[in-house]
Amino acid sequence: MMKLRVQLQCKNLHEYLRELSPEILDRLYNHPATCLAVYRELPSLAKNYVMRMLFLDQPLPQAAVALWVKKDSQKDHDECVSVLGGLRLWHSQQLQGGLQGYILNPVFKDNLRTALLGGGTAWAEEGSTLGPDRHARDIESLDRYAMERWEVILQFMVGSPSAVSQDLAHLLVQAGLMKSEAGEAPYITSAGFQFLLLDTASQLWYFTLQYLKTAQSRGMDLQDYSVEGMSESLLTFLQHLREFGLVFQRKRKSRRYYPTRLAITLAAGVTTKAGFIVVETNYRIYAYTNSELQIALVALFSEMLYRFPNVVVAQLTRESVQQAIANGITAQQIIHFLRTRAHPVMLAQTPVLPSTITDQIRLWELERDRLQFTEGVLYNQFLSQADFEVLRDRAQGLDCLVWQDVAHRVMVVTPQGHSEVKRFWKRQRSHT
């Protein structure tokens, strides 16, 4: 039985927030840090809208706001309206003349103002009393720490031996990235493969969002920065963050902690690692790296040929690519992986990857896709053409007709539509 392929949904922050209920959203917006993060994720035109309205206390007429953009950018304006509304950053309010106006969500407005201008409570309540940290870490070592921790997690997924806590393994399983049979160590799923090939920023987002989902289900609350006054659940959260490399805490007992650049990257999604892969038109891949993780990733979809201290030579073959596809990776992901890690020499040419390679990878994927499976319910043995046509039209009207053969009076209906069609048919028969 062919398993339907699960496509990895890499939602971004906004999509996640839209799904939350208004009360939770307002609670989230009660922190300047969250407001700033959400603000930075907005499209740039929306950022300007928010800034313009940030220091106004009155609602603005919607017609006036619509005039802010030039005529050519009307579509961008509509997109902003939908984004700001969807995130509940502003809402409609009636003005004194009866016209409709926009006003910023007061919770969001106050907290974003605080983030910009000051006032309110500190993000880290104890920041000032702790004094300068004797073991202050500089940015670089924080970065390295973060990347190391992150690689440990990824290596665990690929199957290389690495130490990961129970909680983390459990989270990976819950996120659908790994599966664990009773008693055995978890192994990677097809969703996990796709996850591995994403760039770091997307991986972070996906991971964090999954974590937030499970946190919600576990009843934990999000936010805050200082350790004192944290409840048990928050401390656990902090330890998890520490393991993900999002936060650095010198020892479990230290009172302060530093969000690493990885965490800050969550708000911007920038990875600055240089590319290291060269792809040639003879299907050879040269990866100038000696990171085990990167090599393992390349080996997911190509055949390793040679290994040197600083370079690894691999070959893209039909077998290797189709093997990867059987594991759930798509051709698009392989191409994206190669493109995002392309060596600067490759970046100089257009297109970055040779079109022969990209086309061939896609073709190999299509070779496996000659058949497409859709579940359905078969209706046949109609007594008359008229009966068939009536039922077929009904199914089409309900938008659940998958396939029909008029000559043989056979049709296939989706499982969801089946009950409705069946009911209709029974009514039909009782009438005639």
Binding site: P32, A33, L36, Y39, R40, S44, L45, K47, N48, M51, R52, L54, F55, L67, W68, V69, K70, D72, S73, D76, N111, T114, A115, L116, L117, G118, G119, G120, T121, A122, W123, G127, S128, P132, A136, D138, I139, D199, A201, S202, I264, A267, A268, G269, V270, T271, T272
Partner: protein
């Protein structure tokens, strides 16, 4: 997936001419230098809040020289020195806290320590702009000038050079004028593609800055913004720095003079021109009538 943001630098040049601001304090008590700097800080904070890769620099332009209010140390050395800087202990984003405290401290230093000597009571804007240009070398940048005192004609040449250098480097110069219109800045904005605005209400400076000058050049293409003002493109003569409409131009170096001189002072070319002879009016014999 997101394209990595490129660094975008905003340099705010503030005219802190003490004479103008001193007079201002008597004219309009609602809008003093502190209030002006508050608005500048709001603008700077908003710019940095927009994106993680946005950077800020603030320069104060005084009578004799210019001073960096922010950053005070070389900023290329890693992140903006947040190691020992004090956070404000409140809800402000820490980076902004650090910046605002630095700016406040520096402006106090500048205003209390800088002397005004002799006759130079004009703001040294051209020099400040030149410094601003040096900052934005390899990165996308723009300059916002907050102008208080009047233009200084003596700086015309330097100013024009700075403007053309900015144009070459694709650096926008925006101008927010508090008092009298500035022909030089109008030209600067027109040539580099920036925005010029003389604000009707000084107390609302922050709001004008956020509405008009906060969006960067890409965002400006989508928004409706104040139209360009009529620009006075009269050149200033090289000898007196007066604005002239008709003058003499050296054919070698294109320097402009209001009066003819046989040798060009810039390139020292000698000219031999025959001036049209002045025709003396013939004396008419007046017929005497009795």
């Amino acid at each position: 997936f997101k394209v990595p943001d490129e660094i975008s630098l905003l340099v705010i040049v503030v005219d802190v001419n003490p004479i103008w601001w001193g007079q201002q304090a008597q004219r309009e008590q609602e809008f003093t230098l502190s209030k002006c700097l508050d608005a500048v800080m709001v603008m700077g904070n908003s710019h940095m809040a927009m994106s993680r890769t946005n950077k800020l620099a603030v320069i104060a332009s005084h009578c004799q020289d210019s001073h960096f209010l922010y950053p005070s140390k070389s900023w290329k050395a890693g992140d903006d020195g947040a190691d020992d800087a004090s956070s404000s202990g409140d809800g402000k984003y820490e980076l902004l806290s650090v910046a605002n405290n630095l700016i406040a401290e520096e402006i106090r230093n500048v205003m209390s320590k800088t002397e005004v000597r002799g006759n130079s009571t004009d703001t040294l804007l051209a020099g400040t702009l030149a410094k601003a240009l040096c900052l934005g070398q390899e990165i996308k940048s723009r300059i916002l000038v907050i102008k208080a005192a009047e233009d200084c004609a003596l700086q015309y040449m330097n100013f024009m050079n700075v403007i053309f250098a900015a144009q070459k480097q694709n650096i926008l110069i925006d101008a927010c004028v508090l008092d009298s219109n500035s022909g030089l800045l109008q030209q600067a904005c027109d040539i580099t593609g920036g925005l010029y605005l003389k604000i009707p209400q000084q107390v609302a400076l922050a709001q004008y800055l956020l509405w008009v000058f906060l969006p960067d050049s890409e965002q400006r293409s989508q928004l409706v913004l104040p139209p360009p003002a009529h620009v006075d493109y009269r050149a200033a003569c090289f000898c007196h720095r007066n604005l002239i409409e008709i003058g003499y131009v050296c054919s070698v170096c294109l320097s402009i003079f209001c009066n003819f001189s046989p040798i060009c002072t810039t390139c020292e070319t000698a000219f031999k021109i025959q001036l049209p002879q002045m025709v003396k009016p013939k004396k008419k014999k007046l017929k005497q009538t009795t």
